[in-house]
Amino acid sequence: MAKMTLADLKKLRESKQQAMSERDPSNKDTQVIVGMGTCGIAAGAKDTFNAILDELEKNNITTVLLRQTGCMGACASEPTVEVIAPDMPVVIYGKVNGDVGRQIVREHIIGKKLIDNHIVDRPALDIMK
């Protein structure tokens, strides 16, 4: 395979941008934040991050911002994922492996339904900004 340059990457973006703007309803109204402290890493948060990314792509969802952060203070429940979506309470999910990550995309973000058995408490107050 030929080596891709940044110029190729820009072209790829431009070619995809048209398709993206067609399906892009408005702004980004949803945030998904994956905890990636030592605890999250050890529990497999990298797989979670990539599974969520893959599922968002598969479902053509363009309204979501996907981010990483450090330890959310719920080390015993790692990997943890915070989801801030319109018309839904702000939720931190725990023990989110790749499959549960995909479930979050399908059920929480698309289906607007909470995934009961993975909800954890808000983290300790000292680490909340």
Binding site: K3, L9, K10, L12, T38, I41, L56, D126
Partner: protein
């Protein structure tokens, strides 16, 4: 210890971002004999005493977590080096930044696998904020460099699924050319 060398790298870069680094240089160099990593940031740095304490698993930065009394990132790195034949070096200057470098014997049976470098670096580009991350990825055959700023320049916001997917394709392509 962490499952892969990439997990150690994620931990170190996360530390750098959390230390307020605006620019972090990451070197990942692998040969059949040796794995070498260096993370150099321009974050807030540590004094000699804090640097010494960072090796203690029962130390974490004061104020970071009032109830959590452990900080395992650096201790896990030191443990890995000790167990796999390798060495870690930590250097830091308050107000100027921290450099953590380590190497591992790639032929040691206890050395963890390197892991998925493109996937790891992609995640490291997705923290919030306007920091830059410069990756130099080197094998015996070739090397490539990529920075967060140039990716953002080409793709825009790096926290959207569609741009992240394109960045991943780009990184995978670079990595593939390294192997072939």
């Amino acid at each position: 210890m962490h499952a892969t060398v990439c997990d150690i790298i994620t931990d170190l870069v996360q530390n750098a971002v959390e230390a307020g680094a605006k620019r972090t240089e990451l070197l990942v160099s692998t040969t059949p004999e040796r794995i070498e990593v260096r993370v150099a940031d321009d974050g807030k740095g540590m004094d000699a005493e804090t640097l010494r304490k960072a090796s203690d698993p029962f130390y974490t930065e004061p104020g970071k977590h009032s109830k959590r009394k452990v900080g395992l990132g650096i201790p896990l790195l030191l443990q890995t080096c000790e167990e796999c034949g390798g060495k870690a070096d930590l250097a830091s200057v308050p107000g100027q930044g921290t450099t953590v470098s380590f190497w591992l014997d790639a032929r040691n049976i206890d050395t963890p696998p390197v892991g998925d470098v493109p996937e790891t670096v992609l995640g490291l580009m997705a923290f919030d904020g306007d920091y830059d991350l410069l990756l130099t990825r080197r094998t015996r055959r070739d090397e490539y460099t990529v920075s967060r700023m140039e990716l953002m320049d080409a793709l825009g916001n790096l926290s959207e699924a569609s741009t992240l997917a394109m960045a991943k394709e780009f990184l995978r392509n670079q990595e593939m050319n390294l192997e072939n």
